[in-house]
Amino acid sequence: MTSKFSSVFLAATLAFATLLAGCSKAPTEADLNLATAKAKADQCVEPESVIRTKHMDLLMHQRDATMIEGIRTKQHSLKECINCHVSTTKQDGTPLHYGDKEHFCTTCHAAVGQKIDCFQCHADRPQTDDPNYQHTVGSTAGHHFTQGVTAAAAPTAAEVQMVTQPQQGAAK
C-alpha cells in the first residue's frame, strides 16, 4: 500500500517537473522584442485581453454576418487581422505562410497546442502590391514577430505541424 502510494507520488512529482521544464521553454517577455507588438496592441480593434480570450468568438460571429447577410464591417474581419498583423514575406523574402513559425497566429497557437482551421481556405498573408496596405502603425514599423524577434524560443517543427495539419479521426 505504502509502496503504491510512493510510486504515485513519484510519478506526480515527475510530471510536475516536466511541466515546469516545459514552462521554462516558453518565451518570456524578456526574450521577445515586443515594442512593435505593444504599439500595435494599443491600436487594435479591441483591448488585448478581449482579443486574447474572445478573438475566436468575434471571428465566428463576423463570418456568419458576412457570409449570410453581406455585412462587411472591418472591425472583426479576419482579412483585416491578417492585413495588420501578418507580413507578406519572411525576413529572407520568401512568402510567409501559417506553417512558418514567424506567422503571427502560429506563434501563439503552437504554444497553446491549438490547431488553426481558418487558413485551409482563407489567405494567410496579405496579398497586395501596395506597400502601405497596413493600418495606421505603418509598414515601416514592422509586424508582430516577423521582425525583431530573434531571441524567442521558436515553436518546434512538431508544434507547427500540429497547428497546420488536419487531424485524422475523432477530435481530441
Binding site: M67, G70, I71, R72, T73, H97, C121, A123, Q127
Partner: protein
Amino acid sequence: MNQNRVDEYRRNFMTTLGGVAAVAAVVPSFVLQTAHAAGEVAAKPVDQAVTNAKRWGMLIDVTKLTDGGAGMVAACKKEHGWGDEAHSADTQKAHWARVVKVTDKLTQNSFSLPVMCQHCENPPCVDVCPTGASMKRADGIVQVNKHICIGCRYCMMACPYKARSFVHEALQDQKPHSPRGMGTVESCNMCVHRIDAGKLPACVEAAPDAVIFGDLNDPNSAVSQAMKTIGGKQIRADLGLNTGVRYHGI
C-alpha cells in the same frame, strides 16, 4: 488573279468586321453607362444586411460574345484564382464557369455560351443541402457557405447546370476576397464581394458589350428593360427554376 480575289475578299471581310466592332463598341457601352448612371450596383453600407428588395441578375447576349465567353471565364479565373489545381485530374478541376459549345445536329448550326451558376430563385442545390451550407442570399445570390459545408456533393448532383465543383486538394495563397479550400464545394457567387462594394462582377466587366447586369426586381433597371425589349431565355426553362442569369441568342 487568284491572289487578288483573296485580297478583295479579305478586305471586304475586314471592313464588315470593323463596322460591326464599331457598332458594338458604341451602342452597348451607351446602355451600360446609362446603367451606371442609374446606380445599378449602388454600394451598400457595409454595416447593413442585404435585403430582398433587390435581386441581382444578368442578361448575356451570346450573339455579341465574339469568343463564346472564353474572356468571361478567364476573368473569373483571375478574380477567384481557380483552375490551377496541380494535383487534380482535368475532370476534377474547379469550374466556376465554363464555355459550352452547342451544335444543332440537324443544321450543324453551332454557337458557344458561358455557363455558370444560374442563381435560381428556387435552387435545387439549396433544397438538397443537409447542412444549410448551400444557400441563397436575400438578394438572390446563390453561394456555398464553406464554413459549414461538409463536402458531401449532393448539390453537385442536384444542379442541372453542372455549375458546382469540388476542391480535391489542399490549396495555398488563395485570394483574400475569395476563400477556397479542400473538401468544400464551390461555384460562381456572382462576385458577391464586388457587388457588396458597388462593383460589377468580374465577368461582366470583361464583356461589357455583351452582358448587362442589374436588379431584376426593378422594372426600370437596364437589365429589366433589355429583357423586356429583346427577351431573355433561361437554360432548361422547363424546370421552372426562374434563373437570374438569362441569355439572348440561344
